[in-house]
Structure formats: C-alpha cells, structure tokens
C-alpha cells in the first residue's frame, strides 16, 4: 500500500512518499499451479465492496444483539425494524436546506414502537425510539460513526487489514444553531439497495415503470415504484445542493464557464421534464383513484397522489434554487473579478497550503498545521496570580447563574388609532342578526331591511358578511372543529334594495358533520 497522493487542482507536486512500499522485498511468486491468494484485484475489489455493504448492515443487527444488555426487558422490540423505519423517516424528511428534526423522527417512530409492545408505557416506547436513533448516530464515539475492519490483498500480494469508516445517520448544522439529521449515502444504499447508479437515468426508468404499472392498473406495485422514485428524487436534489453550495462559497471553486451552466441547464431541463411527466402521472392516478371500485385500490391511488405531489414539490424547490444561482454568481463576480489588479503577489493560502496538506498522511499533515498553529493563533498574556488574590478567588462563592437571562426592558407601546370601518358593537349586532337557526334560512333582502332599522350603516356589514358566506371556508372550519358555518346561496332571485343590487341570496346556517358526531 502506498500513501495516496493525488494532485489537487493540479497545483501540488508531491514527492513520492511511500514508507510502506519500501519494505516489500519478498513478493510471493505464484508457483505454477499453486492457488493464488486472491483470484485477481478485480475480484478482490468486488469482495471488498460486498464486505463494506455487509458492514453497513452490521449496526442494525448489532441493535438486536445488544438489546439484551439494556436494563429492562426489551427483547419484545424488533430493533432492526425500528432502525430501518428511522432511516426511512429521515430520508423522506430530508429537505433542501436542512435535514430531519431529531424529535420529529422520534415522534413518528413511536406508533411503530408502540405497536410492537402495546402494553408497555409511553415513556418506554420513547426510550426505545431514542435508543435506536442514538445508536444509528453512534453518539458514544468521537466521530459519531462506525468502523469496520476488512482485509484485502495489495498489489504485491500482501494481506492488508483496512478500516472502513462509515455513518448511517449524520448530524448537520441547521439554521439558528439547531442540529438536523440526514441519512448518508451508505444508509440510503442499505435501505433501497443499488442506488449508486446514475440518478437521472434511474429516475426515468422508475417513472416509465410507474406509468406502465398505472396503465395496467397494478397499483400495489406502482406505489413501491413511486416511493423508490421519491428516494431518487431526494438523492438527486442532494447532489445538486452540494454543487450549489460550493458555488455559493467561492466563485472560483467552480467552473462557471462550462461545467456549472451546463449543469444548471441540464437540471432545469430535468425539472421541466419531470414536472410535465409527474403532472401527467398525477392526472392518471387521479383518474385511477376516482374510477377505482376497489376501496383498497382507491386508498393506494390516493397515497400515490400524495407521493407524486411531494415529488413535484421537491422539483419546484430545486428549480427555485437553480434560478438563484445565476444572480449569485454575478454578484460574486463583481466583487472578486473586477477589483483592481493586485499590487504584489501574496501567498495563496488555499492552493499552497490547504490543498497540498489534505492529501498528506495525517502524521505529516499535522506537522504543517502545527507550524501554522504555533505562529497563527496570536499571543496570550500568561496570567500571574498573587497568593493573596488566590485566596480571595478561591473563597468567592460562585456566581448564581441567571436562568432567566437579563431583564427585558418594558416595551414602549404606542396606541395605534382605531381606523376600522365598523365598530365592535356593529359587528356584534350584525353577527347576532346572522345567527340564524339551522332550519330557517332567510333572504338577504329581509336581513338588510332589518339591519337598516337598527343602524343605517349596518346593512353594509351584513351584505359583506353575506357575500363572504357565498364561498364558505368549509375545509378550514371542519378542521378547526367549528360546530356550524354561515353559508349563502344564489337561487336567481334579484335583490330589491335601495342601496344594493345583485342576487337576493339565501343566507342560512349549516351544521358540520364532525361536530355532530362529536
């Protein structure tokens, strides 16, 4: 094994450093007919790849093996199943900017955990969910990851044990200092398998398959395909997010002449294409949903509609990101490229220090960073303490920590002038007028006349409320559990009124079903 010393950005020339290659004098010469230790590097590589894939599943098996060690009787829980569900949840909740929220994932895991042991307490379910999630992150280790050891034969026939480090769920910083979860590529591969293929083509394949399945009415399979398509959509968005992030950081870090514009054009085409495609699918499934006789089919089609809608949402999000990239580049270009030429050549910190250091073996790289650290951190004035002060310092009681923080200043509030068209009393009066019994709707003309008798200004408010009621927000009211709802219907009668024209609406109160049920 030699130390990997790839040139970075073509600026570094690394003197071959191969402390290991030096001690390989006794290369085993394969005797004719004798079995070679490995049938060839390609086969060995394939073996290593499979070993790594196998290693990725180890943490899941490990959960079930270790549950016996937990204080309490936990064997009833299928930990690997919970873990896979957790990885599923995190993958599906990964958004563009952030990942999935820790507590949210735990909350969504709970139903499954609870289903496995319905007679246990809620606290225990939550403890199990947290335990699984923390073990998938591997909270105890410094790297918060896993390590597996596998062996390969080097080019010279030596057997080398290597460390394979991987993560399943990683924690990423979110806005405002919060921590979010993302699944790693390894985890996605464990989950759905063989995903590290070309994202675009894989997605097209999945969608063509979906369309065929839909047209043949095989919805059960279609749902599986649609879910896989969504995983791929997420992965595709993730790839693009990384590229755009690099662009945002430094305009020179990315090839804006060809590579990125091509990439953005490609991605925009992709979004447009997918959008059309998925809308077509959506129409098809909706039709399937509405026409399906079998309630099971209907339900699956409805789920499918949700999944495809989510795909479309992600594509739209991706598109808005893509459109932001151009202006961002131009702004950075203005700042960086059109400045006055440099007075003198300086040190290129990235190209001459960071880039050459990163490929070095860590032992050697640390020498460079040590040298930088020693000279680059500034100075500290050593504290000199007198014995007399020390006594005082040690005897001073610790300061009570303020839990509530500093006192909030009294806000200086300015009363805003009341410029409402109608007063509270008028509103009350109008609502009282419109508080009709459910079985006795009234004509608008009658309501207006009655309102006019109370207050000459009131008819305007009543008319306004009645027109509003012509398109009542049934869904919202239903969700919020309102017991009843004001509605207005036009039956074609003309309104005969000195101040208002139009239809003489029938205004009434409708009872909502959910409220009746409760």
């Amino acid at each position: 094994m030699s130390v990997p010393a790839p040139r970075v950005w073509g600026v570094t020339t690394t003197v071959p450093s191969a402390p290991h290659a030096a001690h390989a004098p006794h290369v085993p010469h394969a005797l004719p007919g004798a079995p070679r230790p490995a049938p060839g590097p390609a086969a060995d590589e394939g073996l290593a790849r499979r070993l790594k894939a196998l290693a990725c599943t180890a943490p899941l098996h490990d959960l079930d093996a270790r549950k016996a060690n937990l204080a309490g009787e936990y064997s009833v829980y299928a930990m690997a199943e919970i873990a896979l569900a957790a990885i599923d949840l995190v993958t599906l909740n990964m958004d563009f900017d952030t990942g999935a929220d820790h507590d949210q994932i735990v909350a969504r895991l709970l139903p499954r955990v609870a289903a496995q042991a319905p007679d246990r307490t809620h606290a225990e379910h939550e403890r199990v969910a947290r335990w699984v999630l923390e073990n998938l992150i591997n909270v105890g280790s410094a790297d918060r990851g896993f390590r597996a050891v596998y062996g390969t034969f080097g080019a010279d026939g030596h057997y080398v044990r290597r460390d394979y480090d991987f993560k399943l769920i990683e924690e990423v910083p979110g806005p405002g200092g919060s921590v979010y979860l993302r699944t790693t590529d390894e985890a996605v591969n464990v989950l759905v398998g063989a995903l590290d293929t070309d994202v675009t083509s894989a997605q097209i394949a999945a969608e063509v398959k979906l369309e065929v399945l839909i047209s043949r009415g095989r919805l059960a399979d279609a749902q599986l395909a649609a879910e896989q398509a969504r995983y791929r959509t997420v992965q595709y968005a993730e790839t693009l997010r990384r590229t755009l992030e690099a662009t945002r950081r430094n305009v020179r870090a990315v090839d804006w002449l060809r590579q990125v514009p091509d990439m953005i054009a490609e991605a925009l085409d992709h979004v447009a294409d997918r959008y059309r495609h998925e809308n077509a699918i959506l129409t098809n499934i909706r039709k399937a949903r509405d026409e399906a006789e079998d309630p099971e089919h209907k339900r699956r089609a409805a789920e499918l509609v949700d999944i495809v809608k989510d795909c479309i949402r992600r594509h739209t999000q991706l598109q808005s990101r893509l459109l932001e990239a151009g202006p961002l580049f131009r702004a950075e270009q203005d700042r960086q490229a059109f400045a006055a030429p440099p007075a003198r050549a300086g040190l290129d910190l990235y190209g001459q220090l960071v880039a050459p250091v990163l490929p070095l073996p860590v032992e050697r790289a640390a020498r460079v960073t040590d040298a930088y650290f020693a000279r680059g951190t500034g100075l500290r004035t050593p504290a000199a303490v007198r014995v007399g002060d020390l006594v005082d310092l040690l005897l001073t009681p610790p300061v009570e920590r303020e839990h509530l923080g500093a006192e909030m200043p009294e806000p200086d509030l300015v009363a805003t002038p009341d410029d409402s068209r109608f007063s509270d009393e008028q509103l009350e009066s109008a609502l009282e007028l419109l508080d009709l019994p459910a079985d006795a709707p009234r004509r608008l003309s009658g309501l207006l006349a009655e309102a006019r008798r109370r207050d000459p200004d009131l008819p305007y408010l009543v008319a306004l409320l009645a027109v509003h009621a012509a398109s009542p927000p049934v869904g919202t009211a239903h969700r919020q559990g309102e017991p009843q709802l004001l509605f207005a219907v036009d039956d074609g009668t003309q309104l005969d009124d000195p101040e208002f024209g139009g239809a003489d609406l029938i205004v009434g109160t409708a009872r909502l079903a959910a409220a009746v049920a409760s």
Partner: protein, 301 residues
Amino acid sequence: MTEEREERQERADGAELREPAAPRPAPTAGDVADAARLVGFGLQPRLLPARDAEYAELIRRHREDPGFARLADAVAAGLGLIVLEVSPRAGMAVAAAEDSVFAVRMGDYARRAASDTGDRFLHGLAHLAAAALAFPRPEDLADDGYIGRITVHGVDAFVRQACRRLEERADEAGENTDPASDAPGLEAAWRVYVRRSATGATKDARRLASSTTGIIGKAVAFLVDSGFLQRTGDEHGGTYRTTARYQLQVRDMAGGAAMAELLDLGVVPVSDGSASLAPAAADDDFLAADAGLPFHAAPSS
C-alpha cells in the same frame, strides 16, 4: 514587510551596541516607561489606537521619533515579541516568538490534541482553513484594505468540499483510501476530517466540542480573543470579519512558517500568484502550462 521587520529587529538587537553617532539625547527612564507602555498596549490585541487617546499618541510618537521606535522595538524583542507593524490601523501588532512566554501551545489550547494526532491536526487545520477562507485569493492577503468575512459553517463546508473532491479523485483513480488498521498515522489527512461529524446534539444544547464545527467554532472564538476576528453575527454558526492584525499575522508569520514546514516535507506547491481555489479545467492543460517549472519560485517563507 519582511525586510522591514528584520531590519527593525536588527536595529532592536543592536540598540545598545551601535549608539548613534549623531548627537541624540540619551533615553530617559520616562522614555523607557513610555516604550514599555506601548508594548503593553500591543499585548492587548483587542485594543485599538482609535479607542484610546494615550495609545494613539504613543503610536504617533513611534512613527515620528526613531529613537523612541528603537526603544519600543528593543523592549518588545527583549520580551520575546516580534513587531509586525506599528500603525494607527493595527496598533502595535506584535507576535510571540516561538519560545516566548506569550506563545500559545497546542497542549494548553486543546487537551485531547496533545495525545491524539488526528485531533491535533483538526485543530490546526481549523485555523489554517479559517485563514484560507478569510483570504481566498493571494491579492486579498496582500491588499491592506481587504476585510475578509467568514462563518463557522462556511469554513466547515469549504473544507468538506475540498475533501470530497479528493475523495472523488481517489474513487476515480480506483484507489483504496481506507487506512491500514495497524498504521493509523498513514491515513490521508482529508479522511480524518471527513470521518468527523459536522455537528452533534448535546444534552445542554451547546456545540459538540469534538465535531468539526465545534473545533472551528473554538478556533474562531480564540482568534476573536487574539484580536484577529470580530464577531458580526450569529448566522451560520457565527459570522466574523477579519482585522488588520490577522492579515499581518497570517501574511508575515503563519503562512511562511507553515510553508517552510511543507517544503521541509518535500511538497513543493507551485503558484503563479493567482488564486488556485479554482480547479484546473483539465489536468493535462495545467501540466502543459507549467511543465517547465517544477520548482517555480515559492513565495518568501
């Protein structure tokens, strides 16, 4: 800048030996006290002459009175300090010599770093990467008026991106970068960074100290205390802008020292003075352009 410093250093060293031939009043005890006070101001890196009238007056005197300047420089040299610049914008910018009592030692900075090579590297890299992002182009480091802006998450993302490219290259080349189990020191440096989590949840909602953003956060907080950065906001893990002192320190001290160490390791980074944060379009093109200059003059170190 370097020559100027050396010259001053020389003058400071030989202050007692080479008494000026021209008639000049011998420094009084008061002058020495003033010179020492100026150095004392210099040791408070967050203090700026613009904020303190006495400091500003001493800076002015240092610039106008060569005798006083020599005296102040001699005091600094005697304390184990290297004078980088004395100006109204940076104040008396001094850096600690390697064996000085003012120098910062890695073991005091981070306890774990003393025993663990990986941690030591990560802490050092955090400082190096912060500077690289603060001064992305050579022009930025050379331009006295340049103010860099960095964020904690930005530094992390930038190093991760660089590491990811190395990973992709290694993958393309079909290299197996997994380190041998019995030789952890031979693991490629970028892998140590990639392996470490970017962040992590902790019980008290603080940044996980061993995560990369924790390490970078520690570095920038330390640089703020050194008067090298000023905190401007909380977005993206904390946003900061650079000070004149930081530029001086990186340009005249740290960059050169790290470069010398790198050259010592046999790695010769070539630069034509332009920023290399851009990738070469194709490797072959780049080689053709610079093939004749394998040992292109490295900047003064």
